[in-house]
């Protein structure tokens, strides 16, 4: 349902972020993109909803080819969870979630922040699904803890009934227990709504635990693509090595 056809992206300064990537992601898959910083994960994901445009090749959602003209329509079919969450700090949790359906709300109604009962109910339901307690619903987003904010961001991505949800490092700033619980709620929500999820992660353990499919990137190219069970020992250790930050100084001392 989501297709990348020989997609490349070269930035203005000559950096080749993604080169000749072809992928076919099926509906309902929970894909995890793995790879070290600068491997092109974020670029690849941002090309799905048109935040970054491919230099060559094309991205297709269903039968639609993503281009400038239909960018807004495609964006409405995609939910996004940003790395820094980008919640609106001074708005309440409910308003933050409801901000996800703004394209379907009339201009006047959105101006006076009026949402229908149905819309409000679905926001409540989603927040319940991702595990945010009821007492937080009317608090400002800035007053919540990191994990709670992450749940709000997930609810916001799901409220517009998207076909695809893309999540950029959803657990980057959370402790392990909280990370696991957030990923679990992300996966349950995706299962329940039948949504395809593309998610970048740093930690191989979480990928092995949650992913239906792992796509590993290195220097803008795919070097592993498959089910977590297909990962053999050598590839796994290679992935671990990539995830480790290189320590130049230590090597020098050893020499």
């Amino acid at each position: 349902m989501l297709k990348f056809e020989l997609v490349s992206r070269i930035y203005d300064d000559g950096t080749k972020a993604v080169s000749n990537v072809s992928l076919h992601i099926k509906a309902g898959e929970f894909c995890v993109l793995l790879g070290p910083s600068g491997a092109g994960k974020s670029t690849l994901m941002n090309m799905v909803n048109g935040v970054v445009e491919p230099s060559s090749g094309r991205v297709m959602l269903g039968d639609l080819v993503l281009n400038k003209r239909n960018k807004k329509t495609i964006q409405q079919r995609i939910g996004m969870i940003h790395q820094q969450l980008h919640l609106i700090p001074r708005l309440s949790v409910l308003h933050n979630v409801l901000a996800g359906i703004l394209p379907n709300v009339g201009l006047f109604r959105s101006l006076i922040k009026s949402f229908t009962k149905v819309e409000q109910r679905s926001a409540h339901q989603l927040l319940d699904e991702v595990g945010l307690e009821e007492k937080h619903l009317l608090r400002r987003a800035s007053e919540l803890s990191g994990g709670q904010q992450q749940r709000v961001a997930i609810a916001r991505a799901f409220i517009s009934n998207p076909e695809v949800v893309i999540a950029d490092e959803p657990v980057a700033s959370l402790d392990p227990a909280m990370s696991r619980s957030v990923l679990k709620s992300l996966k349950t929500a995706a299962r329940k709504h039948g949504v395809t999820v593309i998610c970048t992660l740093h930690q191989l353990d979480y990928a092995l635990e949650f992913a239906d499919r792992i796509i590993a990137l290195r220097a803008g190219e795919i070097f592993f693509d498959g089910h977590p069970d297909e990962l053999d020992e050598s590839t796994q250790s290679e992935l671990y090595a990539l995830a480790q930050p290189k320590s130049v100084k230590l090597e020098k001392v050893a020499a």
Binding site: Q76, I88, P89, R90, A99, L102, L107
Partner: protein, 333 residues
């Protein structure tokens, strides 16, 4: 002991920047000489001389023009004029049996001038005395001044909000619109209220509407630029988050920008409101309504006791507004 790091580094190249040097002292001295010419132009030297004369005359040495001026004002200003006395024969439909509240009738003498024979005569007439009549009149005028400030601010917001959005780099529909609105806003800002009021008095006649529009025009330039700058400086993250759901620019503004700029805007609008009331008090001097008209009239006929009442009312009003707006602001945030 010499490690490579110590050999390649020379501390002389990294001396700390000295603030006071001979060169700096010379520059400051030259600047001082040049500035003294400008100070003479603006009569700062005269102020210094007159002020020291005033101080000397307080301890009993010599005379002072400054003190004379103060004494002339103070001598007439106290006691403050609170009551209002009107000759009864000047009042239309006066009813002796139905006096206004707290007022009474007093008889007194008045000097009458007969222009035909060029003679003065003393006549006895009756006066209607209203004990707080003048204070009431000033209070009504002050209220009119506050209303002028209020409407000036409302019209100012109505002008500056759309212009502010058009003049912000990230929400302007076109580069040309951006430049045009920016120039327009600075044009508004560059027009002093008093001068705009003078022209508006020509157009609309004496009265508060000239003042209201003058206030709105000047302050919309200030507020519009402020709105535009705030919108430009709003954090881009939430804006990206909302716009990447496919929402249009208006909705992004409403949900990702306005909540962020709201507190600063409230504070600024409040400042504009206070400032408008303060400015509205002087706009009456050119005939644009409000308490300034009364002030100017009384000042020109040396009724300093009336002037003192007006000044006291203005002072108290500004303090009161300050207190109220502080309280309101705490609640709004």
């Amino acid at each position: 002991m010499n490690t490579p790091a110590e050999q390649t580094r020379s501390w002389q190249k990294w001396e700390i920047h000295q603030a006071v040097t001979t060169k700096n002292i010379v520059i400051v001295f030259i600047a001082f000489v040049l500035l003294s010419f400008s100070a003479h132009n603006t009569e700062l030297d005269k102020a210094a001389v007159e002020t020291s004369k005033a101080v000397l005359s307080i301890i009993g040495v010599g005379e002072s023009q400054v003190l004379d001026g103060v004494a002339r004002f103070v001598a007439k200003a106290f006691p403050l004029q609170i009551s209002e006395t009107t000759p009864i024969n000047r009042l239309n439909d006066f009813d002796r049996d139905d006096l206004p509240l707290f007022s009474y009738i007093e008889s007194g003498q008045v000097n009458e001038y007969d222009a035909l024979s060029d003679t003065w005569s003393v006549e006895t007439t009756e006066f209607l005395v209203q004990p707080i009549g003048y204070l009431k009149k000033v209070a009504i005028k002050m209220w009119e001044t506050i209303e002028m400030g209020f409407w000036g601010t409302i019209i100012c917001i109505m002008i500056s909000l759309p212009l502010g959005i058009l003049a912000s780099q990230n929400y302007t529909p076109h580069r040309l619109v951006y430049s045009f609105t920016r120039i327009w806003l600075s044009f508004h800002r560059s027009l002093p209220e008093l001068i705009v009021a003078l022209i508006l008095v020509l157009m609309y006649g004496f009265g508060p509407i000239a003042g209201v529009l003058a206030l709105a025009i000047h302050t919309s330039g200030v507020l519009g630029k402020f709105f535009a700058d705030e919108i430009e400086n709003a954090p881009p993250g939430p804006q990206l988050a909302i716009s990447s759901t496919g929402a249009g620019a208006f909705k992004v503004l409403r949900y990702a920008v306005f909540p962020h700029v709201y507190p600063a805007c409230i504070a600024y609008v409040q400042y504009i409101f206070e400032r408008n009331i303060r400015t509205a008090t002087v706009l009456g001097i050119v005939g644009a309504g409000g308490i300034g008209m009364e002030l100017k009239g009384r000042w020109d006929v040396f009724d300093y006791d009336h002037v003192a009442t007006i000044l006291l009312v203005i002072f108290l009003t500004v303090i009161l507004l300050e207190v109220i707006s502080q309280k309101l602001r705490k609640r709004a945030l």
